[in-house]
Amino acid sequence: MRILAIETSCDESAAAYLEVKEGKVANFAHVVATQAIHAKYGGVVPEVAAREHSTTLPLVLAELAKNVVGKEDGAALGKKVDVVAVTRGPGLVTSLKVGVDTARALAAAWNKKLIGVNHIDGHVRAAWLPGAPLEETLKNSRGIFPALVLVVSGGHTELLLMRDEAQYSLLGATRDDAAGEAFDKAAKLMDLGYPGGPAISRLAGEGDASKYAFPRPMIDDQNFDFSFSGLKTAVRYFLQREREQLRDSQFVRDVAASVEQAIVDVLVAKTVRAAKQTHAKTVILAGGVAANPKLRRTLGDALTQQLPNVRYAEPPFTYCTDNAAMIAMAAYFTAKRGKFDEGKKMEADPHWELGR
């Protein structure tokens, strides 16, 4: 099966090509819009893409064609495609529509099958991409389910249970800010700029994580929901009192480390508890915040200590942030079940909640 996938749910314009033969990836390429691609055409990557996807996506598709068929030839690329896949939701309606309309047009023009993919399903399936931890289970995934997934990014914080290859149930989600947003906004309060999540994580490496006790919202609640907005407010009040100290670099490192610890503690505690309760055989970490070294290490250590028989699947850094490779992989699983969408009826669904 040969899949062309498109992702435009928020800020990234991305496209990917994935060929799976007898349960193995036979051919694979993916492109995310970068400054280099835009520079060729004299443009810049917009930080807020939205409608700009319609300018960026053709460039990304041309670049993908070059990677797959050796030249910027869309017709030649189309001949090597069986299924056109696209992120249908959740996301920003204006952004999603550009991808969905493009995919619909390509599928109609090339007379190919079409699949609308859930963005979160994409993040999860990144674990099956080449070089990712579940790669070898692509052919036969027996023994890995039930699998528990923690999806953490700038826009999402969700705990999902996969009973089998096809069925998701949503166990819990954030009620306000996503974990990635908590990092970014704490960074802003510390004058580290926005988005400052990666800056916090860098500074935290040299800080004392036990120095300041920030709240761990909902950590003891028996449900699997999250809330990070209160932590943000606590950091705000704390810095208001200690404003002067922000000039001291060790203070900044200690605050960064303590904030990171608070966020990671909540994520890990809830994930491990959910894994125990659901008797999960695998725990999958996914999304942009999955690139945070502290989260990766802490979750890994907690699982080794408390659930040594559980398999821990950490995504490679390349597939943590939004990309279309993961959308192609999700479409592969959907296509395997014979579930396709009708071009005329398929619409963007900005609120599409997986597993609800």
């Binding site: 807020v48 939205a50 700038g154 907005s229 609120h351």
Partner: protein, 145 residues
Amino acid sequence: MKTVRVKNVKELDVFAKKIANGFCGGEVLGLVGDLGAGKTTFVQMLAKHLGVRDAVKSPTFILMQVFTTTGAAKKRGVTQLCHVDAYRLKNKTELDAIGFAEYAGTSGTVTVVEWADRVPEIHKFSGYQEITFDFLKNDGRFLRY
């Protein structure tokens, strides 16, 4: 300009209910206040009082979300709540790019914009209103509208 002091989320909810019940569709409401002031919490309360059933979360990352209303709000013609977050936006061009004008000010749609001070151009929408959130010393908030 009116002012109100709210001591806690319960009092904020009472205020949100009053504002929500006053909507008849087409309003554009800007929210101004610092990180952690309670803007998203306030929108969650407005949504509840407009009969929105989907979960309303911070739209900082995805910028804009449109919800359908139910119940009494829908009956009196308020059919949609458009929740916008201008935190990541730098100018009006970006506001246009997210498709803001397709929803803002249209009949039946109530549009609420967090960080409205980042896009001052929205003042020109007819019937534009604004609520400013300030911190009080004792954890409460001081609202101006």
